[in-house]
């Protein structure tokens, strides 16, 4: 984690020091905590976060330095030459235990009803570093348990251990100081600044960084125990930024999305809108193929689609168009583009997608499609736009259409003689289509998006496709075969290989290792 950070601007001399009896060398400017992490010495912390500034308030990371009169916070102290650090001396362990005892003194007995239980840093540190029974038998200081602090967030002030991570997320990531500490001593509490609500576009990051269950997401609250979730790496489909995420799913339903570290794209963060994109996956899906509006079997629907498209092609390829969406993965885009040129013999390929939206200079892009870059690279210079499509339909230049993905704006569909839709959702074009084929979505397939920086990023299948939906490239292959081509793609990786071979700017992209969902219970506390 720490080595993902930017190196100090000016190259400085390395420092030579000793950590737990081990001689080591680090670049100057590193903190002792980061140095300890590099050599594998365990130092716990609550308030320190690799993506935030270090206020040294939790006092968990105290270590002893030879010659120093008292333990120092390692998250705050830079390494220095000839420093001798001890992370596990009896004194350090004792101080750490005393601090934990303080932290637990007024902590409510909420684990059975707390959303964070199972991925809670307080639980983890108590068990690892304290594990002693309680010594206080007095009551606890009570604070407000349900504070509606923002659009997405509920605050439990009792559970808060006052680490201030959330305050720093608001200040340093969202650049909007919504949260503050009020009062002192055991009455100290986290609250919103006067007249403020925690409504910044990055507010849900406070829930991630909260080491305990003080800040909880309204969306996820009480819906699922953390240890029953299975985590799969993926990429947010919300905009062209392509924030790296983990999909947390259970029983084939996505329960939440959380950011995954990628220092070149999103660091540790993602926006609130992105987190809610998962809702679209379970909503109003096209579950089975349809022919003339009635449910049909896959092979029957494919045969009918191939017949209609073949007929239109043979009549006049110039009036046959294909619409692709910038929401689609590279593999689907490539397979359908190939279908257009090789089997349908048309160059009328249009790129549609979601309309532009709001943006900022932090993470959110105005382009709300995750794969516009990939679509443009694969489609090449002949790719037409959604405006072209509308004009061509209205002008009756295009009378037959293969519609893939979910374009938001289309012309009047009744003028089309042939309409075949490959779609993930029930929508007006599906209702109007002679044949509709269900399409698996981003969270259900192995594939890749190319973000606004041109980075090709992998998606892994986290849940099974809804109903009988299949990945788009697979549908393209079956259509191609039905139209007489002899394509041999058997898995997304092979399509990806061809994408890299054909698209120069993606030639260095890597499919990467296979990733399996990991149950959070066995991935240990996330912290």
């Amino acid at each position: 984690m720490a080595d993902e950070r930017q190196a100090p601007s000016a190259p400085r001399a390395n420092v030579k020091m000793v950590i737990d009896g081990q001689a080591c060398e680090f670049p100057a400017g590193l903190t002792i905590l980061e140095a300890c992490q590099r050599v594998g010495s365990k130092v716990p912390f609550f308030c320190w976060h690799p993506g935030l500034s270090a206020p040294a308030v939790c006092r968990q990371c105290l270590v002893e330095i030879k010659g120093f009169p008292k333990p120092v916070p390692s998250c705050y102290t830079p390494v220095a030459d000839r420093m001798e650090v001890v992370t596990g001396s009896p004194k350090v362990l004792d101080v750490r235990r005393q601090m934990l005892e303080f932290t637990l003194l007024n902590h409510p007995i909420d684990c059975p009803i707390c959303d964070k239980a199972g991925e809670c840093m307080l639980q983890k540190h108590y068990f690892d570093w304290d594990a002693r029974v309680a010594r206080n038998d007095g009551g606890k200081v009570r604070k407000a348990k349900v504070v509606d602090v923002g659009r997405h967030i509920v605050l439990d002030q009792e559970r808060c251990i006052l680490c201030s991570r959330c305050i720093r997320v608001c200040n340093e990531v969202a650049r909007q100081p919504d949260l503050v500490m009020a009062f002192r001593g055991d009455r100290q509490l986290l609250t919103t600044a006067p007249g403020q609500r925690l409504d910044n576009p990055y507010s849900l990051n406070t829930v991630d960084v909260c080491p305990v269950g003080a800040l909880t997401a309204k969306d996820f609250r009480f819906s699922m125990r953390a240890w029953e979730l299975w985590a799969t790496p993926s990429v947010c489909p919300g905009c062209a930024t392509g924030c790296n995420i983990e999909i947390h799913a259970s029983r084939n339903l996505i329960r939440r999305l959380v950011p995954r570290l990628n220092s070149a794209v999103n660091k540790y963060w993602m926006c609130d809108d992105g987190r809610l994109t998962y809702k679209h996956v379970a909503d109003n899906r096209l579950a089975a193929p349809t022919v003339a509006g009635a449910p049909a079997r896959w092979d029957a629907a494919l045969a009918e689609a191939a017949r209609l498209l073949g007929q239109a092609r043979d009549k006049s390829p110039a009036t046959l168009g294909m619409v692709l969406s910038a929401q689609m993965i590279n593999e689907d885009l490539f397979a359908f583009s190939r279908l257009a040129t090789e089997c349908l013999r048309t160059d009328r390929v249009y790129l549609a997608g979601s309309p532009e939206g709001w943006c900022d200079n932090i993470l959110v892009s105005a382009d709300k499609n995750p794969n516009t870059t990939g679509a443009k690279l694969i489609g090449g210079p002949t790719l037409r736009t959604a405006a072209d499509l509308q004009r061509d339909i209205e002008g009756r230049v295009v009378t037959a259409l293969l519609l893939v993905g979910e374009p938001d704006a289309l012309g009047p569909l009744e003028s089309l003689q042939t309409l075949v839709a490959v779609s993930s959702h029930q929508n007006p074009p599906v209702a109007a289509a002679q044949v509709a084929l269900p399409l698996a979505m981003w969270a259900e397939v192995d594939g890749s998006f190319t973000n606004r920086q041109g980075k090709v990023q992998r998606l892994y299948s986290a849940i099974a496709p809804a109903g009988q939906a299949r990945p788009g490239w697979e549908t393209a292959v079956r259509l191609a075969r039905a139209l007489g081509a002899a394509w041999t793609y058997g898995e997304a990786k092979q399509v990806f290989g061809d994408v890299c071979a054909k698209v120069t700017l993606m030639s260095r992209a890597d499919w990467g290792k296979p990733e399996m969902p990991v149950q959070l219970r066995f991935a240990n506390s996330r912290g």
């Binding site: 639980q123 304290d130 594990a131």
Partner: protein, 417 residues
């Protein structure tokens, strides 16, 4: 006396004597396959034996096990260290406490807390273990006697077993599947009147066992069916890895409690009975005597039983008391972590073995430092003991199979796991 089939049989048939009949080999017979089990009443524990018989004589035998396979070892890899106790109950299900103790000791050695188990817990483990050894032997002898038509003996011994199990039920809440032992001790202290009750039960058990002894040991029919049948030599016992009463019946005086003392067994005065001939009768006699020795251990243990806690004082191993869990955050967290993540056992491997009802019960455990075992292999004593049947049964009569198999005391739950 070397060849049992030639010398040891004197079976009276009608008015004649079997010995005066022409040799069985001379009779015109042809070999015939015969299935016994897996649901034959004498094949307790669900085992199948495919015999090749010539008349009444067994020519060869193929013992087929696995009918009670429950994936113990694989299941264990998907359970926390504590969740495995109920599975161990179902290994040798006539002496569950011994399995509980054997497994707990293995994990404790890996955790390096085996020297820190409270003394009272160690005594209690000895007590419940020896009670289980008695119930194990009672079951074996009762069933075998019944199969040789001594139904009265069956009732006498089963009744004694029931008294002991009722006591264990009072202690643990379950008659058979006790799950009473925990890593770090036992789940609860003895009930208030446990020792007086046990003393009373032992007195009655002694009488039952004495009755059974009288009805069997000097019983002509019983002796004829047991003496000289299924002889195992000491060398064979070593070669086949036979332990427990089966191994000791051959004169091999190996008892883990004596040779590698664990818990507090080195503080008790008890003898290890051994046989001289290695036949079915010796195995019967060894078991009978072992029950008496177990009773001696029980009486001494009750005498020496120290006061004190019964569970280790370590929040990372033992579940905190419920009162603490509900009222303090510290114990709540400890409880949560122990239940959800399991006890964190440092990476390593261990082979730990104890004297089970049937012999050396071993657990080979590998930890990768998580709350679940990476591997939990069991060395079930009756797996090795059963293997010798392939050598033992040929040339015996079909009728001899039943007591010979009975005295090997195969327990499917343990053998097949």
């Amino acid at each position: 006396m070397d060849d049992p089939s030639q010398t040891a049989r004197r079976v009276v048939i009608g008015f004649g004597d079997a010995a005066n009949l022409p040799e069985a080999d001379d009779l015109p017979t042809e070999s015939m396959p015969l299935n016994m089990g897996p649901s034959h009443p004498a094949m307790h524990g669900t085992v199948r034996m495919v015999l090749e018989v010539e008349g009444e004589k067994i020519r060869s035998v193929d013992v087929q096990i696995g009918y009670l396979h429950r994936c113990f070892e694989k299941e264990a890899e998907n359970a926390t260290w504590t969740q495995i106790f109920p599975y161990t109950d179902r290994l040798n299900y006539v002496s569950p406490m011994l399995n509980n103790v054997g497994y707990a000791l293995a994990v404790e050695k890996l955790l390096d807390i085996d020297k820190k188990i409270p003394e009272r817990a160690q005594f209690i483990r000895v007590i419940v273990g020896e009670i289980s050894r008695i119930t194990d032997h009672l079951t074996c002898l009762a069933a075998s006697a019944m199969e040789l038509a001594a139904f009265t003996v069956f009732f006498y011994l089963m009744k004694a077993r029931e008294w002991l199990w009722e006591l264990l039920e009072e202690l643990s809440g379950a008659r058979l599947t006790h799950s009473y032992v925990r890593i770090g001790g036992v789940v609860a202290d003895l009930t208030d009147d446990f020792c007086p009750k046990l003393r009373d039960i032992l007195r009655r058990c002694r009488a039952s066992i004495a009755d059974a002894d009288k009805m069997l040991t000097s019983n002509r029919i019983f002796r004829d069916r047991m003496d000289g049948i299924g002889i195992i030599t000491r060398d064979d016992a070593l070669g086949w890895g036979l332990t427990g009463p089966v191994g000791r019946s051959t004169g091999l005086a190996y008892d883990v409690r004596k040779d590698h003392p664990y818990l507090v067994y080195d503080r008790f005065d008890f003898d290890v009975p051994v046989g001289s001939k290695g036949d079915n009768f010796d195995r019967y006699a060894v078991r009978l005597e072992e029950m008496r020795q177990s009773m001696r251990i029980l009486e001494q243990a009750m005498e020496l039983l120290p006061a004190g806690p019964v569970l280790i004082d370590d929040a990372r191993v033992a579940l905190p008391p419920k009162r603490e869990v509900y009222n303090t955050i510290e114990s709540m967290i400890a409880h949560f972590k122990l239940i959800m993540d399991g006890i964190v056992v440092p990476p390593g491997e261990i082979y730990s073995f104890t004297e089970g009802g049937n012999g050396e019960l071993g657990f080979y455990i590998v930890s990768n430092g998580t709350g679940q075992p990476w591997k939990c292999r069991v060395r079930p004593p009756c797996f090795a003991n059963l293997a010798v049947l392939n050598k033992l049964l040929p040339r015996l009569f079909i009728a001899d199979l039943v007591p010979t198999f009975g005295m090997i005391n195969m327990i499917g739950g343990e053998c097949d796991r």
